[in-house]
């Protein structure tokens, strides 16, 4: 019931944007990753299904991996400045059980590919100290 309603609203939205002159496929295709943090995303109602921003997700890592991924003298991997592809692959491998871990596999289960990419972009842009 709820889902059905949401679908109708979404279809309506896409249709309305189409009417306004924006191309519907272009809106639908890049969906999540491209929309994160762009001004265009802010004009849409956020909704619980929208992915969190890379920065918001990165903050949840900091309790172990250091503020902004900058970490001194601890057993965990500092994430600041890690190349995007390396971090994104590590998270996918943890999540899919291809790389053994203690709890990183569990944490990685909480994130989609798009979310992992957004997080990895965030950390790649942080200057390690």
């Amino acid at each position: 019931m709820r889902l059905h309603h949401l679908t109708l609203v979404l279809i309506g939205l896409v249709f309305a944007i189409g009417l306004l002159g924006a191309s519907a496929p272009a809106f639908a295709a890049p969906a999540a990753p491209a929309a994160v943090g762009t001004p265009a995303a802010a004009t849409l109602p956020p909704g619980p299904k929208a992915p969190p921003s890379g920065a918001a997700m990165a903050q949840t890592c900091a309790g172990c991996h250091g503020t902004d991924g900058r970490l001194h003298a601890a057993a965990f991997m500092p994430l600041a400045g890690m190349p995007k592809a390396q971090l994104a692959q590590a998270m996918r491998d943890f999540r899919d059980g291809k790389r053994p871990s203690t709890l990183m596999g569990h944490v990685a289960q909480g994130f989609s590919n798009g979310e992992i990419d957004a997080m990895a972009s965030y950390f790649a842009a942080v200057k390690p100290e």
């Binding site: 994160v36 918001a56 903050q59 949840t60 569990h106």
Partner: protein
Amino acid sequence: MNSRRQFLLASATALGAVAFPAIARAGQASARIVIVGGGVGGATAAKYLKLADPSLRVTVIEKNPVYIRPYGSSEVLNAHVTMQDLRVSYDALRHKHGVAFVFDAAKSLDPVNKTVTTASGKVLGYDKLIVSPGIKLRYDSLPGYSEQLADSQVPSGWIAGAQTALLAKQLQSMRDGGTFVLAAPPNPYRCPPGPYERAALMTEWFSKHNPRAKVIIADPKDSFVTDETALLGWNRLYGFQPPAEYRTKLAAKLQPSTQPCALEWIQAKAGGTPQRLDAKTMTLHTAGGAIKADVINIIPAMVAGQIAFDFGLTNDSGFCPVHRATFESTLHKDVYVIGDSSIADVMPKSGFSANTQAKWVARVITDGLAGRDPGTPVWENTCYALAGKDYGLFVADVFKIKDDGKIGRINKARYLPLDATPAQIRLSAVYQQAWIQAFTQDIFA
């Protein structure tokens, strides 16, 4: 003259009209954020607010000039660390991040005029208020128990401080072959694996220093968060035999034991529920009978910190209802409640929860002041715990708001796997220690 004055007035008005939005923006940029409580939640919020916008005027009201961290504080009891090791300075927050501190007790809230008054009569105005008062221990929830007894004879030590030191002294000097009883708390409470970690660490310590000593957990519950992995660890380390309902699942992994285990867990259904304390005879009366002990540690029922009650932020549950997407109180506008005092659905009352809630609220506030949308919230929790000094356990969670509007867990697996290798178990204990260090840095450095 007259016309000149009129001209000046007119231009001043025009100037005013033009300048107003700029002034308003400047005013917002230096908004006053008051934070009540300098624990994990409050200190994290202060640091992350200043990182996001150094121009914010952030003031923390905290009654203690030094923080005594509760996470990892049971390691004072088994002499792994000292009370000194629990002390965390506010210096970096003050001098590196520019957070102002008022070392005083917060007394009352005026949500209409948006002020907080302290015990010494200081009045602080705010644009946004963050309240992170932790928990209040309901010493009166167990007949025969009181705060006075907790401070002098039967410590709780669940808010780290003098009671932690007292309990450590009692345990380390307990008579040869004595009995240590730990009364576990009812749900919900701060640090869900904590009481069981404490009992296990003392069992391990006694095995070396007081080998005939006994440890008994009297529990008003039948289960706890990390129970399966903890019970398996206790079996391996102390010869513990888990209750029947756990044996099926753990069967293949359990080791038989020939000796009675020094550690006993009395579930509610076995009569473990604490009912009354007789401090004179050092007896804990439970639903199943009386337990005479040499050292008793009562971890009583908990509600939101007293400040949450004084500020009118609690509901009938004794905790604080908040809008999930922002952690703004449903009872007072522009007041945010984070950490143990907030009602956050399946998020445990842990330091890690408070830490990620604080960061989210800092984002909600700074984005709100700048007219930006903070987007979709996400939170995490990681609790490391020990079954023994070198035997680590954990629970790990990622949270979002689910379709029912409540905070729900996204990941499926949460615990150390039951078939974890010895290396994973040992590494979890290494990470438990590393986490204390990294977590403290993220909050206070």
